[in-house]
């Protein structure tokens, strides 16, 4: 069924709102870039625009899924849910950037504009149903991210981070395209919906071209998702970028790439066969490797930011486990994991950012005796750390439990075992912060200026979902369960 262009636009409202917000912000920035008042206007404009987009996106979660724009974009509850997570993540990162000293004042407006642009790319990627749209989404996401990573222009580390990001990103996008071109050559189409059915009756020659092509295709997605063979850039880029940018990278591009990976896996490899078996096998290995690399790498770190970067690799591996099972239970678990991961990451980065602004670095020792100076903040940080490690009754536990139960249901016991072991390993470095906060003497009793009443209130408000989702998880699960993927 083909829909007229205008009717299709009616289902594309969240993206349009984000787009209009970005253009409006550009105009605002050009007009008021000089004064302090203008910056306040810019932030409130961005927040209002994104909030409207969030409301529209959340409101259309119950709509019937449908493909629009001649089947190249799919609007379904699954992508809608991911878009909600990404919009919230962007709002959090924008708030963080307004408070952080890590971004120069005259560049703050640009951060907001570029973050909105990345969000647009992410939304496109999450609902891509066609190789061209997928590629466009990834590149919109990437090209703006390169600029974001090298945001501190005169800082050696930041420009190095941008450089590494751009080089790795360019190569992996190229490899992905090369894979795509062979898939197109063998199957004759770039439409996902047409690729799925033809995958089952192929000759041996075609298969021998397709399997390496799919691997190359995975390189691009895997790079954005920062999973094991392509994770090398992650710690460096995350460490070199300014802190709000790191928080942003840990949420938005990751969730978008995860959405695309899930859709690709579900659409292509629904039917059992050689291709499905090999894809699932490779994904299992990658999930296990990613988790292990992330969690083992996080152990020896001195900087909390770098530790969080490694731990985000570990969490990506955990979420890939939800993709491996290729069923509704897995998709539901991914969405739940994503929404809890959003809140946990935001709180951890917010607190780290204020500490970093005060002391100029974010080494673990900076958290010494934190609980005696800022008890509320220390408790929030401790809760988030326990939740990230997966300690019941916090939301991180429910999220991990969902993923692991989906994996066990499919009888991938080895994978589930590795996932469980990784949770145990992650306890070590998460609890290190908690231990330092409680049992060590504080080095200084100076106040951290960033932690005023307003910011403390926001940190607490973001911590509340981390706890509540762990207890009243059934509400979100029901919502995530209705978020089905449209395979068309």
């Amino acid at each position: 069924m083909q829909m007229s262009y205008l009717a299709a636009l009616g289902h594309y409202i969240p993206e349009l709102i984000v787009c209009i917000t970005m253009v409006g912000l550009l105009v605002l920035e050009a007009t008021y870039s000089k004064d302090e008042h203008g910056r306040g206007l810019l932030y409130s404009g961005a927040m209002i625009g994104l909030f409207i987009a969030f409301c529209v996106s959340a409101g259309s979660l119950t709509d019937l899924p449908l493909p629009i724009f001649t089947n190249s974009v799919v609007i379904d509850p699954f992508s809608g849910f991911l878009k909600c997570i990404m919009i919230l993540g962007t709002m959090g990162a924008i708030y963080l950037s307004s408070q952080s000293k890590d971004i120069y004042n005259n560049l703050k407006a640009e951060f907001v504009i570029m973050a909105t642009g990345v969000l647009m790319g992410g939304m496109l990627l999450a609902s891509a149903n066609n190789m061209l749209i997928l590629y466009l989404g990834i590149e919109t996401l990437s090209i703006l991210s390169y600029a974001l990573a090298s945001f501190r222009k005169t800082d050696e580390r930041s420009s190095e981070a941008g450089l590494k990001y751009a080089l790795y990103g360019g190569v992996s996008a190229g490899i992905m395209l090369f894979g795509m071109s062979h898939i197109f050559g063998v199957l004759g189409t770039i439409q996902f919906s047409e690729i799925g059915p033809v995958l089952n009756n192929l000759t041996a020659t075609q298969l021998s071209i397709l399997i390496p092509s799919f691997l190359m295709f995975f390189a691009g997605l895997g790079y954005k998702l920062a999973c094991a063979p392509f994770h090398m850039w992650t710690p460096d880029v995350y460490e070199g970028s300014p802190l709000p940018v790191t928080a942003f990278f840990a949420i938005v591009p990751k969730m978008a790439a995860l959405g695309a990976l899930t859709r690709v896996t579900f659409v292509f490899f629904q039917e059992p066969g050689l291709l499905q078996e090999s894809w699932v096998g490779i994904m299992q290995v990658i999930a296990a490797l990613t988790m292990t690399v992330g969690n083992v790498g996080a152990i020896g770190q001195r900087s909390v930011k770098r530790m969080l970067a490694y731990s985000s690799i570990g969490h990506a591996g955990m979420m890939i486990m939800g993709v491996v099972v290729i069923n509704e239970v897995g998709a539901r678990a991914i969405l739940f994991y994503g929404s809890t991961y959003l809140f946990m990451t935001l709180v951890a980065f917010l607190i780290t950012s204020f500490v970093n602004d005060k002391y100029g670095n974010d080494h673990f020792e900076r958290f010494n005796g934190f609980i005696y100076r800022y008890p509320m903040m220390a408790i929030a940080m401790a809760l988030v750390m326990f939740s990230l490690a997966g300690v019941p009754p916090l939301s991180g536990f429910v999220a991990k439990f969902n993923i692991l139960s989906a994996v066990v249901e499919k009888k991938y016991y080895m994978l589930a075992l590795i996932g469980g072991l990784n949770s145990v390993v992650s306890l070590y470095y998460y609890l290190k912060i908690v231990r330092l906060m409680v049992f060590k003497e504080s080095e200084s009793s100076e106040k951290i200026e960033g932690l005023g009443f307003m910011n403390q209130a926001i940190v607490v408000a973001l911590t509340v979902p981390v706890v509540l989702l762990g207890i009243f998880w059934s509400k979100l699960i029901v919502l995530a369960e209705s978020a089905k993927i449209l395979i068309q």
Binding site: L132, E139, Y146, L167, I175, F178, G185, P235, Q301
Partner: protein, 101 residues
């Protein structure tokens, strides 16, 4: 030219050279050129397959978009290299080693 294999070999050759440049060369500008080679290899592939196998427009559209995006990526990449050159006064990739643990 009635066979598509010469084109496919050429594009594969370009792809391998691009990867080789990325691995072997230490000059950042050369590495950016390597990325361009890889992207052009896939654009050539798309056009070849459209010409010889699949008679639809998908491949042509794809290769046009690849050209456009390659230009955008090169612009941002070069801007970052200039920034890097201004702080480090070098375009050697080995000088980008501040961030190793």
């Amino acid at each position: 030219m009635n066979s598509m294999y010469p084109f496919l070999f050429l594009s594969f050759f370009m792809f391998v050279i691009g990867l080789g440049v990325m691995i072997a060369r230490k000059n950042i500008i050369a590495m950016l050129l390597g990325i361009e080679l890889i992207l052009n290899a896939s654009a050539l592939n798309f056009v070849t397959y459209t010409r010889f196998v699949n008679q639809n427009l998908d491949g042509h559209i794809m290769s046009l978009f690849i050209i456009i995006i390659a230009a955008a990526e090169a612009a941002v990449g070069l801007a970052i290299v200039i920034r890097f050159f201004q702080v480090r006064e070098s375009i050697h990739i080995d000088d980008a080693a501040q961030l190793q643990a």
